[in-house]
Each structure stands twice: as structure tokens, then as C-alpha cells.
């Protein structure tokens, strides 16, 4: 099918974008890789489409003193290529090949993925794991949101229709650490059935910090807080990881859907958690 008629606006600056969004029924188009399928099927019929692709300042990746800022319009393919990102957050380069397919990675953007908020998508999981901040701009000026405040439910975020995401900020971890990502999907490029990411710091043979992020098992990306707490301070060994794995499935409520049963999803959690935690631990120890 084809999109319903709409008014097309193409701002060149952030100020123009904010003005254009101040309208009854306006929607931003970034990469269009989630929005256009919905418009083609008329699941979305915005009256006004605000195309932000010409706002040059949204396309930068910059290092600041304490972290890295990634502009809203940075494409999945650009994030994968960025040596600056790979030097500080190698998990991003590792995760990107799992996001859709080549042509879609060339167009799809980071903020588009966050705002679409698919519970199995890679970017929401990465931002949750890396404790990033989402930078938002609206008529009342800029504000910031933590992942737990931003992602509310599947395809629902805390962003108003009159606001736009301008970028994300990822703080550098305090100590050298290891990171790892893995997922199970039906085919390469499909949305994950379950995805997992880990960040591990090891000091004097012990887990100084452990983070586990999971996607596809809840309404939003989640952290395995019970497992994280249990492992911190323990000897950094595979035995310790194994004994904590049952905690990884605590409180998870995956859904049955077309792609996988809830039981199958739950059964994948310890498998993937073990893989990413073990790998991150080994990287951290070297």
C-alpha cells in the first residue's frame, strides 16, 4: 500500500524543527525504516511529516571529557564504522551487524530506533546497559532522560509529539572493563528473540562491577539487577557466573508471539547471559 497524504516539512535547523513540530499531528521522519513501513500500511497517518535529515548538527559523534555524545541522526552503519566508538564501547561495533540488514543499517538512525522502542531492538538495550542519557529538545528547551524513564512500554516512550531526541550521551566506565553482546534471532538481521549485553570490571581477581542487559524478554530492555548484585565482589570465575545464572530470569515476563514462546525466550536468557558475562569477564581480565 501507499502512505496517506501528508504535509512535508524539511527544517534545516533545530529551531525550525521545534517550530515545525508544534502542530496537531506532526511526526518526525529520520531514517524512515520503521515509520515508512507503518505509513505504507496506513498504521500511521500523520498530518505533517517533519524530515530531520538535513539538520547537520544531529549527525556528529563527539568525545567529551567524561563520555561520548552520539547525534540522533547517526546511522547504524556509521556507528559500526566509528573507531572512536569502538575504542571506548567495542560492544557497539559488535552489536550493529545484528541490527537489520545492510541497506536498512545505511538509513536507520540511533534516535529512530530508541523512539520506535521495540523491546527486542539493540539500541535500547545498549543505552540501558551503558547507562546512557537521552537528550531531548522541545519548545520548553532541552531535557535529559535516563533509559528507565524514557522507555515506558513496547513502542511507547516518554517523548512528547512536540519534542525531538537530539542525541545520546554515554558515560565512560570508571575502570577498564570488558563488554560483550550476543543474540538469538531466527535469521541474520531479524529482530532478536532474546538479546544480551554485558559489561564487567575485574579488580584483584574479583568482580568490581557487573552489568547485564536483556532485550526481548520484557516490555522494555531490562537489567539483570539481582544477578548483578549477587556477582559483585565475588571471585571472577565461570563457576561464580554459573551459580548466579538462575537470578537472571527473575522477574522477567516475556510474551508468546509469532516468533517464539515465552518459555523458549526464558530458556535463552541463562544461555546468552552466560556467554556474554563469560566473554566480558575474559576481556576484562586481560
Amino acid at each position: 500500500m501507499k502512505p496517506a497524504p501528508f504535509e512535508y516539512v524539511r527544517p534545516e535547523t533545530l529551531a525550525e524543527a521545534v517550530t515545525a513540530l508544534d502542530h496537531e499531528d506532526a511526526k518526525i521522519i529520520a531514517g524512515g525504516q520503521s515509520l515508512l513501513p507503518m505509513m505504507n500500511f496506513r498504521l500511521a497517518q500523520p498530518e505533517r511529516l517533519v524530515d530531520i535529515n538535513r539538520i547537520v548538527e544531529l549527525g556528529q559523534i563527539e568525545k567529551t571529557e567524561s563520555g561520548i555524545r552520539i547525534g540522533a541522526l547517526v546511522r547504524h552503519a556509521e556507528a559500526a564504522r566509528s573507531d572512536l566508538l569502538a575504542d571506548h564501547f567495542p560492544i557497539i561495533r559488535e552489536a550493529m551487524p545484528h541490527v537489520a540488514h545492510v541497506a536498512i543499517r545505511n538509513r536507520g538512525t540511533i534516535a529512530g530506533s530508541l523512539c520506535h522502542a521495540d523491546p527486542a531492538a539493540e539500541w535500547p538495550l545498549l543505552v540501558t546497559l551503558l547507562e546512557g542519557e537521552i537528550e531531548i529538545l522541545g519548545g520548553n528547551g532541552p531535557r535529559k532522560a535516563k533509559p528507565a524513564e524514557f522507555f515506558l512500554a513496547p513502542l511507547v516512550t516518554d517523548i512528547e509529539e512536540t519534542e525531538l531526541v537530539t542525541g545520546i550521551y554515554l558515560p565512560l566506565p570508571d575502570a577498564p572493563c570488558g563488554m560483550a553482546f550476543d543474540e538469538v534471532a531466527q535469521r541474520a538481521g531479524d529482530f532478536a528473540v532474546v538479546a544480551a549485553g554485558a559489561l564487567v570490571c575485574v579488580k584483584g581477581g574479583q568482580f568490581a562491577e557487573v552489568r547485564l542487559g536483556l532485550g526481548g524478554v520484557f516490555d522494555t530492555s531490562v537489567r539483570g539487577s539481582a544477578l548483578e548484585k549477587a556477582l559483585t565482589g565475588k571471585p571472577a570465575t565461570t563457576e561464580a557466573i554459573d551459580s548466579a545464572l538462575p537470578l537472571a530470569v527473575e522477574d522477567l515476563e516475556p510474551n508468546d508471539d509469532l516468533h517464539a514462546s515465552a518459555a523458549y525466550r526464558l530458556s535463552l536468557v541463562p544461555v546468552l547471559a552466560r556467554r556474554v558475562l563469560t566473554r566480558a569477564m575474559k576481556v576484562a581480565a586481560t
Binding site: M1, K2, P3, A4, P5, F6, E7, Y8, V9, R10, I29, G32, Q33, L36, P37, N40, F41, L49, D51, N53, A77, P97, A100, H101, V102, A103, I104, N106, R107, R187, A188, G189
Partner: protein, 162 residues
């Protein structure tokens, strides 16, 4: 602007100046306005890959772009790759390896291969399959497509095969 919008673009080396309704998809513009029907349309939601074109040198889905977004872009469609009499090397490799049957998926595969040969190492057949995972073929079973791409990768890398 619900009304028609002016766009200026280059398609296969030729410049065009057109007037389009904002809701017109890039794929429909290429096919219906410019008559470049080599770009096929299968699903209109980004899944099948047959509408793949290149934009400023990298691949994109023309069903997930608006014609107005082509403004200022350098577009290449399968028609820009080669001609019946003078095929592009990628097209020749597909013919040599019987990498097509009905041909519906072929334009999208050719444009995808054009991109991945430039941007990916494609060290083994698994990597080739992953890179082609965004293009669906209902006829060939993919085996011959992978062989064609393997041949092209070997040529690119100067690898001699017996």
C-alpha cells in the same frame, strides 16, 4: 507543502528535475515517473529487498524512502549497472553461476552485492549469507547466488581458484 515539491537529482549519471507529491515513494517515482522499472517492488515494508538501489554510493530500500528525499542525491538503479550488451561484472557472475531463475529478486541482489563488495570483507560463505540476508529469493535456494558472490569476492581479493 502537501502540494507537489520540486526535486533535483541524478539517476544513473543523468540529472532530473521533477515535481512530486510528498507521499510518493522513491520506488514508485523511479518506476512510474522515470520509467526505470528495473527496480522491483515486493513488500513495501523493507523486508524483501527487491527495491534496493544505491544512494550516494550506498544501498538503500527505495520503498522506505520518499521521492522528495531523493532531492540532491546521486541515485543508481540496476539500469545504471550495465546493459544487455555490456553487462556489469556482477551481472556476468550471476549469469555464469545461474544465480537467477524468475529474476524478480535479481535487481535487489545486484545492488546489494554492489554495496557489500565495496564495504565488507566477506571472508567466508557464512559472511556472504549474512550480508545477503536482507534479500529474499523464492526460486534459487540461494546456493548459486552465494557462489556468484564468492567468485566476485575472490576476484576482488586477487584469490586464485582452481
Amino acid at each position: 507543502m502537501t502540494g507537489k515539491t520540486h526535486i533535483y537529482l541524478t539517476v544513473n549519471g543523468e540529472t532530473f528535475d521533477a515535481c512530486v507529491e510528498p507521499r510518493m515513494l522513491a520506488a514508485d517515482f523511479l518506476r512510474d515517473e522515470l520509467g526505470l522499472t528495473g527496480t522491483h517492488v515486493g513488500c513495501e515494508h523493507g523486508v524483501c529487498g527487491t527495491c534496493t538501489i544505491t544512494l550516494n554510493g550506498v544501498s538503500a530500500r527505495s520503498c522506505l524512502m520518499l521521492a522528495v528525499q531523493l532531492d540532491g542525491m546521486d541515485v543508481q538503479t540496476v539500469e545504471g549497472l550495465g546493459t544487455m550488451r555490456k553487462m556489469h561484472r556482477i551481472q556476468e557472475a550471476f549469469r555464469e553461476h545461474h544465480a537467477l531463475q524468475c529474476g524478480f529478486c535479481t535487481p535487489g541482489f545486484l545492488m546489494t552485492v554492489h554495496d557489500i563488495l565495496n564495504t565488507m570483507p566477506l571472508r567466508d560463505d557464512d559472511e556472504i549469507r549474512d550480508a545477503l540476508s536482507g534479500n529474499i529469493c523464492r526460486c534459487t535456494g540461494y546456493e548459486h547466488i552465494v557462489k556468484a558472490v564468492r567468485t566476485l569476492v575472490n576476484e576482488r581479493d586477487g584469490v586464485q581458484t582452481p
